[in-house]
């Protein structure tokens, strides 16, 4: 199981991420692919809660009706340098005001965490080789931002200037 950071803390993971063939544990909180969430509606109903994992090629706008009630959406980084999920996250938070957890999964590594956080991710399933303390520190690499983005955790430079 990978290390999880959630809301700026190392966190026990109460969710189980499943691939498309894994057996579905009963009474657990599970994360499954979009395809599986559609195909196995019946069997999945045994789960305590269902989160959905999206490929980074999915169109959030088209899927929104299906996504809006979910407690968790996992967005994928097949390779850390493939930045499509940054856009998906902002779209979920800023356009649709999604309130559930947005979790980064896949090739999730230290040096992008703060950017992810600023796009609206609030949970990070770290790649296996990552050092959790380092990763926590990474969320504080910058104390300010020029862009507001999806999270207002960092003071925004333009707002500070407008107030001055």
């Amino acid at each position: 199981m990978s290390l999880l950071i959630r809301k700026y803390a190392i966190s026990a993971d109460d969710w189980i991420e499943l691939d498309d063939t894994a057996e579905i544990p009963s009474n657990a909180k599970i994360i499954v692919s979009l395809a599986r969430s559609r195909a196995e509606r019946e069997t999945l109903s045994a789960a305590k809660a269902i989160g959905v994992r999206l490929d980074n090629t999915e169109d959030i706008a088209a899927l929104w009706p299906e996504l809006q009630a979910l407690p968790l959406i996992a967005l994928s980084f097949p390779k850390y340098s493939d930045g499509r999920a940054f856009s998906q996250a902002r779209c979920l938070r800023e356009r649709y005001n999604f309130k559930g957890e947005i979790r980064a999964v896949g090739d999730v590594q230290r040096d992008q965490l703060q950017f992810m956080q600023r796009c609206g991710f609030d949970a990070f399933a770290l790649r296996a080789d990552q050092n959790a303390d380092e990763c926590l520190r990474a969320l504080g690499d910058f104390d300010l931002a020029y862009q507001r983005g999806a999270s207002e955790d960092l003071p925004n430079v333009w707002r500070l200037r407008r107030q001055a």
């Binding site: 930045g83 499509r84 856009s87 050092n131 020029y146 200037r161």
Partner: protein, 561 residues
């Protein structure tokens, strides 16, 4: 100058600390080679043929004397005593040691400079007109808009891991001096019929292997909507740009494959969703930014020609020849913009030594309100020189070897580092530049040829803009030998166009003679001295050039294309 406030400074300092830590982790084996590569690139650090190469941003080309002194210091301390000005208002150093780069960046931060996002698949340095603020054909000063854009794009949370690099250029004048049509986004600041300020937006230009000119996707975008519109463009690109093939990953390929109409439709639809969001500029934002730029304390009367300038023009032919090429009109009557040519014989185009940098800083302080500009043609400009001082300045520049009277002439050529430094190079472009210099040494001859832009790249990546040169030279590899393809008729200005290939390429030995033949054809064909090379080419077409280049006498030209 734009001066950092505490926030700008803090962000740059935090970036240095971040990079220092990344370097430490890499050297300690805690950060993988590939990951560190993509991170160091975002700080301008490449690993090249002989050593790392560091690219430092000079946003919209503006640099203070204090900053120039720091570059001199960097050249001395971390390099072998020189720096290289590029075509995108950056300066590159070729010899810093990886372990020392964090210190170098920290030195830069102390003078409000950085290397943030000067390479890597993210939004690069924002470039603009080197005559911004002093050009007489300018609508408004574009630099406050550039600085707003620099800040908007710096550490942008969503657009730091794009399919490929992304370059902006701004122009606010009648003449496009910023090559906006060959940028991913070209912004023209304009006024609409109602008199409101706004932007015309071009998307999808770029050089490299698939050179393309940008398409106009919006005639008029209101001033307040710049960033919502740019975010719409970048979001479409981030989500839909190709990532499977690095050579198909630029936004130009997406625009081409969707078609500009469809692409525009997607952008407009995305924009409709975000246009009234917090991304809209608020009343006062642009004004506040404008107020952050120093305005030189012009004194037109005191600056005006006291007679010395006109007298020297008449009495000193060397000075007059230089003045004819290296001065540009200033919007203020008492002043002129002075071009410092970095294209002296025997020097790689764009190269400046540490002592020249120090001397230029002193000249900027003495003659030009402490500021310099870097141009897209790899030269520098002292933009605010009092007319009465021009002769004195010329004398000093001459002593420094920085008064070559060739601005806009054949030897004011753009040239990439090629085999001398670049690991991707097929050809030694600097050597070819030298050959051309030797052949056209006679400045009277160059003056007679008149305005012409020769641009040269050592490989198809096109760092030397060859496809938009009036004459373009491209180094190609043929079974391990250097050959050169020639194109004619390109331009990166208002009449932007991609050049046409003349035909088979030329050997190293034949390339400079080939250029000479092209010039001879031009001189024979032009209808008057007033008809430029480009105009002549466009009128007469390729045929006479081809005939001369590939006639039987040129036995060395290859048999096949």
């Amino acid at each position: 100058m734009y001066r950092y406030d505490e926030y700008d400074q803090k962000l740059v300092d935090e970036r240095v600390a971040q990079f220092r830590d990344q370097t430490r982790r890499f050297l300690a084996g805690q950060l993988g080679e590939e990951e560190f590569r993509t991170l160091r690139l975002r700080n301008g650090l490449y690993v090249q043929r002989f050593a790392p190469m560091l690219r430092i941003a000079i946003p919209y080309g503006l640099i203070s004397s204090k900053q120039m002194r720091m570059l001199a210091h960097i050249a001395r301390k971390y390099d072998k005593g020189y720096g290289h000005f590029t075509t995108r208002q950056n300066i590159q150093f070729n010899w810093p040691k990886l372990e020392e780069v964090p210190d170098l960046l920290s030195d830069l931060a102390s003078v409000q400079m950085h290397a943030i996002q000067t390479s890597g698949n993210c939004i690069r340095n924002i470039t603009s007109d080197h005559l911004a603020g002093v050009a007489d054909d300018e609508l408004v000063d574009p630099r406050p808009y550039c600085e707003l854009t620099r800040q908007w794009s710096s550490f942008h949370p969503e657009f730091n891991w794009l399919p490929r690099k992304f370059k902006f250029a701004f122009s606010a004048s009648t003449a496009d001096r910023a090559a906006t049509r060959v940028h991913d986004i070209g912004v023209h600041i304009v006024r609409n019929e109602a008199g409101e300020l706004g932007y015309t937006i071009y998307v999808g230009g770029g050089l490299g292997r698939m050179p393309m000119l940008g398409h106009k996707i919006r005639e008029f975008l209101p001033e307040a909507d710049l960033f919502s519109y740019c975010e719409a463009i970048l979001r479409i690109y981030n989500l839909q740009g190709r990532r499977d093939n690095i050579h198909r990953a630029r936004i130009k390929v997406l625009v081409k494959s969707l078609g500009p109409e469809k692409f525009t439709e997607l952008v407009e639809a995305e924009w409709a969703q975000i246009k009234d969001s917090y991304l809209k500029l608020q009343a006062g934002d642009v004004e506040r930014m404008r107020a952050r730029f120093d305005v030189p304390a012009y004194a037109d009367e005191a600056a005006a020609d006291d007679g010395s300038f006109t007298a020297k023009l008449a009495s000193d032919a060397k000075f007059a020849a230089w003045a004819k090429r290296n001065l540009r009109k200033h919007v203020r009557p008492g002043y002129a913009a002075v071009f410092v040519s970095l294209k002296a014989n025997g020097v790689a185009p764009g190269d400046v030594t540490d002592s020249q940098m120090d001397a230029l800083a002193a000249l900027a302080d003495e003659f030009s309100f402490g500021e310099l500009r870097a141009t897209h043609d790899q030269n520098l400009v002292l933009a605010d020189v009092a007319k009465k001082d021009i002769h004195a300045l010329w004398q000093r520049l001459s002593e420094l070897g920085l008064a070559t009277p060739n601005i806009g002439l054949l030897t004011d050529l753009i040239c990439c580092p090629g085999l001398d430094f670049c690991s991707l190079a097929n050809a030694g472009s600097i050597g070819v530049a030298q050959d051309i210099f030797d052949r056209f040494e006679d400045f009277d001859y160059q003056h007679d040829i008149g305005d012409i832009k020769l641009k040269m790249s050592g490989c198809m990546n096109g760092c030397g803009h060859h496809t938009v040169g009036h004459i373009g030279i491209l180094g190609v590899d043929k079974s391990g030998e250097e050959w050169y393809q020639v194109t004619l008729g390109g331009s990166a200005e208002n009449d932007a166009a991609l050049g046409d290939r003349t035909g088979p390429s030329f050997s190293r030995e034949d390339i400079a003679p080939a250029i000479e033949k092209i010039i001879e054809v031009y001189l024979a064909q032009r209808d008057s001295e007033a008809e430029s090379f480009l105009a002549t080419y466009r009128r007469v077409g390729m045929a006479p050039f081809k005939a001369r280049l590939y006639d039987k006498a040129s036995a060395h030209a290859e048999a096949t294309a």
